[in-house]
């Protein structure tokens, strides 16, 4: 299919809420200045089931979405790899087309 716009890399990271600022710093280090955080309700993985009770936010998970220029995304992902296990993150990478591509450099 032929889509409008210019291609960029879409990175989605499912991560515990307290760790988001760390990841945002890492994004910024690679010159990726835009992101959006989205909520989740519950889930299940190797470490069991969880659902948001918000008595404590330590395990409250959110999705961090960032659309970035492919080369910068590569750099970010390289830096992210060593953190994956201790942070318990799930990372999804796909291609996406955007309008106004200059906004996602």
């Amino acid at each position: 299919m032929n889509l409008q716009g210019a291609e960029r890399t879409r990175i989605e990271v499912l991560v515990d809420a307290p760790l988001v600022p760390e990841l945002v710093s890492l994004l910024e280090k690679h010159g990726i200045l835009g992101h959006t955080v989205m909520p989740t309700l519950s889930g299940q993985g190797a470490s069991g089931r969880w659902s948001d009770d918000l008595i404590t936010s330590a395990e409250h998970k959110v999705t961090l979405l960032s659309v970035a220029e492919p080369a910068r995304a590569e750099g970010f992902l390289d830096d992210l790899r060593p953190l994956l296990d201790s942070y318990g993150m799930v990372v999804m990478i796909s291609a996406v087309n955007v309008l106004r591509p200059d906004k996602f450099s």
Partner: protein
């Protein structure tokens, strides 16, 4: 003790736990639970502040404050050693869990105050200040322990210090306490219907939620072994006893010594987990939340508090 169990506050906790164990779909929306917990911190802070504004800064207050800070700092050390040897935890997990036990649980404290008031041996108002002071030193101890065993946290110490001191619950407790001090009994009168009149009823709803959350977590059983469950009980009981005895030695009155025991015996599940997730991401949150929230918290509400109160009545002459 039966009398304690028949307080509405405790009964709602039991109802929540039963619903979760029966796999009911009963659930309190997150925002409501969070809102109620903020309300409770404001109410308890105001109440403490107003009481201290009446009684003044006494010598007892200072003694209790120093005792509380010391307990919060030191408790993590033996807890860490026990978790390493008996609990067979690795250093990073042991350090993270130990910080939880040095710190305190606001709701356990509040439930304890309710029960002390029902038994007509109220704790001194300044214990709210002690509660706030005990929240954070344990975090520092825990991180120092982790460091000594070669685990370096991911965050510079200064940043972490700042985050811990400006933690939402700490700021709210301290801020409300100061507001209570400033406005005094007369200024408090106009807002008393919300922060005093409604307090017990709202606490019931919160404990319903806590019962649900704690039992669900216990049932899911993430990371919890029988050995760790036993440790979570033993550590709470030991710390609580220690707190009561220390209070008694320092000359605090019965209710206040019991409150110090409740603080020492309780484990954090709000401020400390958030700090640990950030400072020691390698540690397993299922482990430290499981022990503090799913085991120690219900134990204290149902059994621990009555024991510490009874002990205080016995040892404080």
């Amino acid at each position: 003790m039966l009398e304690t169990l028949l307080s509405p506050v405790v009964l709602f906790f039991v109802l929540g736990a039963v619903a979760a164990l029966l796999r009911s779909d009963l659930a309190i929306p997150e925002a409501i639970g969070k809102g109620i917990s903020l309300y409770l911190m404001v109410a308890i802070g105001l109440k403490g502040g107003v009481e201290v504004s009446e009684a003044g800064f006494t010598f007892d207050l200072m003694i209790a404050a120093v005792a509380g800070i010391t307990l919060s700092f030191l408790i993590p050390v033996p807890v860490f050693l026990v978790l390493r040897s008996v609990g067979r935890l690795n250093p990073v997990n042991a350090a993270a869990v130990s910080a939880h036990y040095g710190s305190v649980s606001v709701v356990t404290f509040v439930t304890g105050l309710e029960i002390l008031t029902r038994q007509q041996i109220p704790a001194a108002g300044y214990m709210v200040a002690v509660l706030a002071l005990m929240e954070t030193p344990a975090i520092i101890s825990g991180l120092l322990l982790a460091q000594r065993f070669g685990v370096t946290g991911t965050r510079p110490a200064r940043e972490l210090m700042h985050e811990t001191l400006t933690n939402g619950s700490v700021m709210l407790l301290v801020g409300s306490f100061v507001i209570g001090l400033l406005v005094g009994k007369s200024g408090f009168a106009s807002i008393a219907p919300v922060f005093e009149g409604a307090f017990r009823g709202v606490l019931c709803l919160f404990l319903l939620d806590m019962g649900l959350v704690a039992a669900k977590r216990l049932k899911d059983g993430r990371s919890l072994t029988p050995r760790l469950i036993a440790l979570a009980l033993a550590i709470a009981l030991t710390n609580g006893t220690l707190g009561v005895l220390l209070g008694s030695v320092l000359g605090l009155d019965t209710g206040t010594a019991a409150a110090l025991g409740i603080l020492a015996g309780s484990a954090s599940y709000i401020a400390v987990p958030a700090a640990m997730r950030l400072a020691l991401p390698q540690a397993d949150p299922g482990l430290y939340l499981g022990m503090s929230l799913a085991v120690t918290f219900p134990f204290n509400i149902l059994i621990g508090i009555p024991i510490y109160v009874w002990l205080a009545q016995w040892v404080v002459r």
